[in-house]
Amino acid sequence: MPDVRALDYAGSERLTMNMGPQHPSAHGVFRAILTLEGETVVGVDAVIGYLHRCHEKLAETLAYVQYPTIASKTDYVAAMSSELAYVMAAERIGSFEVPKRAQYLRVLMGELQRIASHCLWLGTWCMDMGGALGGGATIFLYCIRERELVLDLFESLVGARLLYGFHQVGGVRYDLPEGWTAECRKTVALIEQRLGEYEGMLEDNPFFMMRTKGVGVISTALAQDVGISGPLLRGSGVEWDLRRSQPYSSYEDFAFTVPVETGGDCYARYKVRMVEFRQSIRIIRQILDGLPAGPISSRPGVKSLAQVKVPKGEAYARVEGPRGEVGCFLVSDGSNKPYRMKWRGASFSNLAVLPHILPGCSVADVVAIMGSVDPVFGEVDR
């Protein structure tokens, strides 16, 4: 955080303004204590932790069979990828194999989740920029309309719309119901068509371009230094996608491109995510075409608490979630509960970049930048 007093003092009175924790664009419970000079931000103190639920302590008290259902509460907008990070860490320590069908299902869910999550991001971001009583709300409702379709798919698969409990150590808990693949194809086709509408409303639109181009530039060096990941990192010109660079769960079987933009501004992040939308749809189609038959789990379904025991060891499993690298660092002492779990939330690191880029922006840019970072506070505060 730059020292406010060290900045050059223009002679006007400074205003300290609290943005959050109760604020329409706080994306949950983020509190930014802004020091303003007129409308220009000169100092930022970011306060987080309002949603802290001791997930890391909780994980030490819950067995490997129990925690995946709660792991979904860390990043509740992309529950599938957070669950996957946890079970992958456990599988990596124990060298448990995962059947091919389960791996494909995990990828399928991960990509659907990415679509759902990006829908929410686009909607809320536009709402930040466009106002709840204006065009932003329109895009928000369009995005939510499409996101609901994806959640419908999840609901018919696992029975829940937000917190799935889909993964378990050694595989997945639910197989596809009848008619699901056809429904899925229909949904992604519809979403692909609607994506064009969002782009039509936003791209070339002078208002949107003015708000996003050149705003909140994150340099490549800063991006790596702070450890931001996902679309933000790729928007800053680094080609780093864990699905490509460290493939997990059979991602190497699928063809997709990793979008990279060099602008580092809000518009670059927007472009990256819009391409990711389409690439996710592409991966989903490939999976639906080539879904292998077979079991969905290498271990029998959960019957008791002590069923999954993981040998002594440590592992760090990282997953490319919609917001970036979701990591789970697991230390096992050989019992049915982890000895220590470190949750590396993508949003936590992504949000840590804000104090570096906000000074010098105007108040209106603060919300645009924060929206483009796409933080989910369940994951920041854990």
Partner: protein, 188 residues
């Protein structure tokens, strides 16, 4: 706003086109059917696997309660909302006491999955808002009553475990979990 390379007129034309485009899209959506569901009067159809209100079941043939008070669900429950006491019987055991704190339940379906007798299941219902928190503390009678009141979801312990069953070593017998996409539409 003003791009110096292009002329003012060309710039105005691009802006005008983009503005028209945005307004055209909202206009298209004006004629789409609203997606709103008039919730309390109309209810969205529940999917078959809906994870909703929990309930206890009776045996269809004998009319006896299915729960044997084995406490497996109590042990597995991540937020620890289930409390069971066992009552030893001659032929079989019963639950002497069964309570479920629905206000802390996270609907993960683990209790359903571990139940060896398919006694605890989930119902196709979610609207359980109440003004009194104590109403969400469900005892055995309430849970049985809920089981008769709503339509049950597809999942039961045995069905879920079958679905997740890995292939048996050597004798790979086809079961619900392997092979074709599983018949989720079959009611329990």
């Amino acid at each position: 706003m003003h791009d110096r390379k292009k002329g003012v007129l060309a710039e105005a034309w691009t802006i005008g086109k983009a503005v028209g485009q945005a307004m055209r899209i909202t206009f298209i959506n004006f004629f789409r059917k609203p997606v709103t569901v008039h919730y309390p009067t109309v209810s969205r159809p529940f999917p078959n696997r809906f994870r909703g209100l929990l309930a206890l079941t009776y045996d269809k043939e004998t009319g006896e309660e299915n729960c044997i008070g084995c406490r497996l669900c109590e042990f597995i429950c991540p937020p620890a909302v289930i409390k069971v006491e066992m009552l030893k019987g001659e032929k079989r055991n019963y639950a002497k006491f069964f309570s479920l704190e629905l206000y802390a339940c996270e609907f993960c379906e683990l209790c359903v999955q571990v139940c060896p007798t398919d006694a605890i299941i989930m119902m196709k219902s979610f609207d359980m808002a109440t003004a009194d928190r104590r109403e969400m503390l469900l005892d055995k009678d309430r849970l049985h009553a809920i089981g008769l009141q709503y339509e049950p979801s597809w999942a039961t312990g045995n069905l879920l475990r079958d679905m997740q069953q890995p292939p048996k070593k050597e004798s790979a017998k086809p079961d619900a979990g392997s092979g074709k996409p599983d018949a989720g539409s079959a009611p329990a």
